[in-house]
Symmetry: D2
Subunit: 356 residues, 4 copies
């Protein structure tokens, strides 16, 4: 119940703090018989890892995952997959200045009030370092659901947006630039924007769009566990996320029914897809697409007023190695969480068929 | 796992179809010793019930709830509260025309593909009639967490928005008009808009804003069960919802960190509240506020092309009694789901204290 | 979490007190497309119901179940099945004498200490009346897993035991006598024993054996959710149960490995079956069999000392209509819980297959 | 759902195979602020570890636990506790002879049929080596519930039983002999018995009794999650367990109600305790006691017929390092599982109080 597990049948439990000995997790419920591509797993970790480009944090972590169980001769055995990523580049001294200080818009204050004790180094458990474990599990989930395509990309940084529908984008270009935006011209603007923001010691928000193709019809459980509710919760569980919309989203709230309805083709597909591939909480076989809003990183390398545990306001200067914008590194995390949701739904779907 | 339960410790399971004998539910985990105000429960149902005004569906249902267990001499006993609302005004004949037809942007197609059999009358399980059970449970949850204030209201209909921050609104006015908008001038415009749309046999979307006041610090469980992730899932589980944002939301994705950070006051409150009362997934004691997007109702009283189970496109004319806009009736549902989340979190919070 | 739900994928939640308006439940996760035999369901209820013979309680309840949802034109739809059994023969006056009194070896004291408030009439929620809801759900589970045979029977009453292995019994005879013992001579002795005990105003314990045939290989989840652990928990959740053993059980603890091991036949079956059809927590296709111990009913129609809520010892005289021995009515309950476990395991098993 | 987690609020998830790189687990929900005694944790592991005496397996494992998270400066932080025990003394060659062979009464056959792939070395996931992770978690649970006393001991080996009630035993003597029987004379006989059995290359079963003292009133959740049902499931999840009984147990099934009822004292305690400290599934404050049956270890160092994956019966000779009787090493495992159940129940109990 303490909230460190995700999924019902394909289930991930994570552990680990930013500056502890290691982070890691257990995947329980991964089906047996999947021949794993370990390079593909490491590749996903590399997409998330710090130090990969000029526009992300310069902390250096190899982020090498070690698997301890659940795999025999390269194949999943159906038993739980335990894995660990050792932390190697902790610079805990960087954090001594925040030992008794609550940084604004961080989790320092709330963790301290909730637990009465906290590992303050690098944000401890509240650090996005935890998401490396999600990426490992998501990479395995992707291999399980290999016929389904999941592509996330940066759709905006600050007020710079891609101005095309996703159908006009070439997802093969996502990895062609460090911001992970498949529209090259927009990507260049986004990167410049982040570089400028970084120079000011400031940070900036952005959005990520994710598209799921080749989804079978019938995923999602009414009533409370609608497919988009599961996706929404998954996205809202990622650090710094402030909003989620799917299909027509917030724009749909301005529309009329006659404009919004997706008329059918003979084969059950629809002419438009404002529904976003989900109707009544259940996938209808069309593309699922959604958008996730990320706030700007709270650590700015500027002087700011903070609160200490004695209730005094103190001036502090942001230090440490931080991302000026989380979005490029969050792209593989969005994909990982999406893969975890879909893998879980595939398992749920399997058991509800009428024959046995 | 089939998705008809909500909550971990304060747990609701619902059942029932739009045109079956009855809908209802079981609340398991409601603490013992709460003296229930049954009139308050019925009042919440009345806020949701059909036929309450000109701008909602004209189906007539008394929506009287009967409690079968878990209450003794007016007081909760800690055992499960079973309750039932009998359906009285089913006009199933209204639905014979859709027996073999999948209406556009409804759940007809996906339910049929998922289950292979469906109660097509009035949308069956996919009907928002199910939410009456949520309102019953939410009304009890509200009584359990009575020191916490939950107020939802209509913040937009189509392109008509309230143009004030919620702090400038008087929540006592929410019930003063049929659209449940506390800004009288805007409310009038919204109502006119819906009346015009209804005359055209069309429908329109809208948004609801919800504000939670007097929240204790420390609610919410990292990592996957962040407080806003739970609220988001709760909202996304409501029929017709397309998006959720809290605090700065999607606007926050355009901001810089130096503008977005909420600086502290001495007492741990913050000068601004772009965080929306939640930091690191845990409540910080400030107001929690969020916004929910509802699409336009899919049933329009116009001719539309639909698909039948033989794969033929057929012309159909929307019938039945439907809402031109779900938003006014969804206000108590948003509040109910919010109350269920907060009640659940209060129970989770209780058990994590260090003393026993 | 409050403990009124059973099962992971085929999930039952029950509600209701002995003398409330109704008892009932919700079955969530029952697959769609099962054509229900309602007579068979009622027949299971009749096997459990009071007043069915001279050796059980004389409370008269028709125990007629009403289904409110999840079934359309006689077929399950995959949506939750809500059902209710109205209580009709509550004689709450019978219980006024225990309003402030804790009866020995009942749940009166513990419920009062736990919840601080209780429905004392007929034991309230602690009454075995709740098990009628389990029988309804179990009867539906049986229809889902119709190729698997579940037979429970009375194997002892007091010190009268069947002295044959179950393989030598004809399960068709179980319903041929009121004690539900397939060995006619032993059945007669058991019935006489109970009649004698009843005359003394006393009660007596007994055991039930259950045999599951035609079980597929592969049910049960290591490590914590071993198949026999799930069966054991199911049985221990039935009122008055004090023990559970499967296969060789407590006798196995006296044996040597060379005597206890079940040697294989070529086809994977085993020559002996001390394992009880389960190895490593997973079914191996052999018969699963287990034995359940029931204590004597605590309500004796004799003078006994009880405790009142003021901490005084008071003399009380047992009243009401009670079973001199729970075992005959518990036979269908054991079968129902077994069916619920197996149905759940079948669903779990379905989703773990490697193909999709 | 795959069954590798235990507990609802104090939750353990384990991973690891007998001969993999490591075993370990994650404890989620352990309250913050517990100052851990690491020596006490290691001491529990030492009680379980192989090679500790002549009557257990001679595999040598230091069983040193490493904690990776959830602890800061020796104190629990409320975040998940990840831990690992590296396997050091795997002699996988010992198992090459069973690569394609299903040993009788092991889990080889069922795992293979269930998963289609298996780590055959040392039983893989089905090995009792997994229980080391339980002992780590149980040791932490014990420290959380430190005012509650949990003592397990060997109550029988084969047909050698302690012939005294537990009240006449001195639990301080449990660790005074290698069989962990607090009755010295009986202990000596048990040890001789095991030595004789071992000489024959055979194995023998036994029972463990566990007593919980100083239990608060009110633990346990009706209906399905009765306290003894949770304890029973916990015990039945331990390798080699065939039966569970609490209080009067199977003997209670032979008794009359007038003999079995536990009459009250003025203070709510009872004069006798055939109930075993639990009434209506809820603790009543008296000692909880139960007994667990363990079958003889299936690996005998004798020639036996086994089945290979080609469906041929083959003669095999047991090898490897095995326990002639699991009971002495299972004592700390029984205590660990008991501690996990009680810790979980304490957390559940906390949240149901009426005040907040």
């Amino acid at each position: 119940m303490a909230g460190n597990s995700f999924g019902k049948l394909f289930k991930l439990t994570t552990f680990g703090e930013s500056h502890g000995a290691a982070i890691g997790g257990v995947i329980d419920g991964c089906p047996a018989g999947i021949e794993l591509d370990f390079e593909a797993i490491q590749n996903e970790l590399n997409r998330r890892k710090p130090g990969q480009s000029k526009i992300v944090t310069q902390r250096k972590e190899p982020d090498t995952v070690e698997f301890y169980s659940g795999i025999f001769e390269g194949v999943t055995t159906g038993t739980p997959i335990g894995f660990v990523i050792h932390n190697t580049n902790q610079k805990s001294k960087d954090y001594s200045h925040i030992k008794d200080v609550y940084r604004p818009s961080h989790a320092d204050y709330t963790y301290d009030k909730k637990y009465g004790v906290r590992d303050y180094r690098g944000g401890g458990r509240s650090s996005a370092r935890e998401t490396a474990s999600r990426v490992v599990a998501g990479a395995i989930a992707k291999q399980f659901i290999s016929t389904i395509d999941i592509n996330a990309f940066t759709s905006s940084v600050g007020d710079i947006f891609i101005d095309k529908p996703y159908q006009d984008l070439d997802f093969n270009l996502i990895e062609s630039n460090v911001i992970r935006c498949p529209d090259e011209a927009t990507a260049a603007k986004m990167i410049s924007k982040i570089e400028a923001i970084k120079k000011q010691g400031d940070t900036i928000g952005g959005t990520i769009t994710c598209v799921i193709k080749n989804v079978p019809v019938g995923l999602g459980e009414p009533v409370f566990d609608k497919l988009h509710a599961e996706l929404g919760k998954a996205m809202l569980s990622i650090n710094a996320v402030k909003g989620f919309e799917y299909g027509s989203g917030f724009c749909g709230a301005k529309m009329t029914g006659s404009d919004h309805n997706d008329l059918f083709n003979n084969d059950g597909t629809t002419k438009t897809n404002l529904s976003g591939g989900i109707q009544g909480g259940i996938s209808n076989g069309m593309d699922i697409y959604f958008r996730v809003a990320f706030k700007p990183v709270a650590t700015v390398i500027q002087k700011q007023e903070a609160l200490n545990s004695q209730g005094e306001l103190v001036e502090m200067q942001g230090k440490g190695r931080h991302d000026p914008c989380v979005v490029p590194r969050a792209v593989p995390i969005v994909e990982a969480m999406t893969a975890l949701v879909i893998a879980d739904q595939i398992l749920l779907r399997r058991q509800e068929s009428r024959e046995w």
